[in-house]
Symmetry: C2
Subunit: 140 residues, 2 copies
DNA sequence: TGCAAATAATTGGCATACAAATTATTTGCA
DNA sequence: TGCAAATAATTTGTATGCCAATTATTTGCA
């Protein structure tokens, strides 16, 4: 089988290329693409547990620790501890992040639209279905 | 737009999940998924320049430096310098890597087949076309 | 021919990304 | 009630992955 025919390689390649498009558009805001996706996830659902956030963005909790460190250092989020359960930490958007909400949401929509618009209605439907079918759950 | 509808997020998520499937199957050979893909690319075309290899696998040359370091340390490849051009380095598979060729090619084909088989003939065609359309060249 | 520009690869710096181990806290059951 | 098991997050270690800068070599042109 030719190298280019590998689904995993193909997905990874396009994924990296697309990430760069986001990177270039996010430089002005001082955040990376993974940090950006976390903020978008938090715009959708603020004040949530790290474990919940890690499920949402499909990244290991230990990966989030680092990204959240940098987002917190940049003043975009805060780790909030509540007395009910001192084990858990809630991630909350700061005023700074709220202020950027419109801007970042626009980058989010426009960039996705940039790629989305290359596909026909039919292709979009099939693509979604294919992504759903390729998702890995608990099997090999 | 809902978070899950972002093409880039969707691609990255599935890409990471699929990488894990390869990872689990490669543990026994002592190589990582990126190292594996490099070897597969070399099985297809051995004795090639690093620059050529980096185009083939769509990774930055500086990224390859590290992966090749580890492959070389593991005895899978060698950096070969030729007198015609002392700037260039050719990457060559070792006997050890050649010996593993059948095994690794089988992992490569079987794992891809695992995912490929989840799609219908039509979906495969559309998927290829979509990946082609989403590739980023020199535009935003 | 000589030297600036181009090319090939590496280095250094930073940010993911995951797995295994660890810490702190809470649960649940004997 | 007490303590083992479960849970939440972090830490540690290793490996990507990219970019900008650097080193070494080769090209090409004035």
């Amino acid at each position: 089988m030719l190298f280019q025919d590998c689904i995993c390689f193909s997905l990874g390649k396009v994924s990296r290329q697309m990430a760069k498009v986001y990177r270039d558009r996010l430089i002005q805001y001082g955040i990376s693409q993974p940090q950006f996706f976390l903020l978008i996830a938090l715009y959708e659902e603020d004040d949530i547990l790290i474990t919940r956030l890690s499920e949402k963005v499909a990244l290991d909790k230990s990966t989030l620790t680092g990204i959240l460190d940098r987002l917190e250092r940049g003043g975009f989020v805060k780790r909030v501890s509540r007395p009910e359960n001192r084990r858990s930490l809630y991630i909350c958007l700061t005023v700074k992040a709220q202020t950027l909400r419109n801007d970042l949401t626009q980058v989010y929509n426009e960039t996705n639209q940039l790629f989305f618009s290359r596909l026909s209605e039919h292709e979009r439907g099939v693509f979604d279905e294919v992504m759903r079918k390729l998702e890995v759950t608990s099997d090999d």
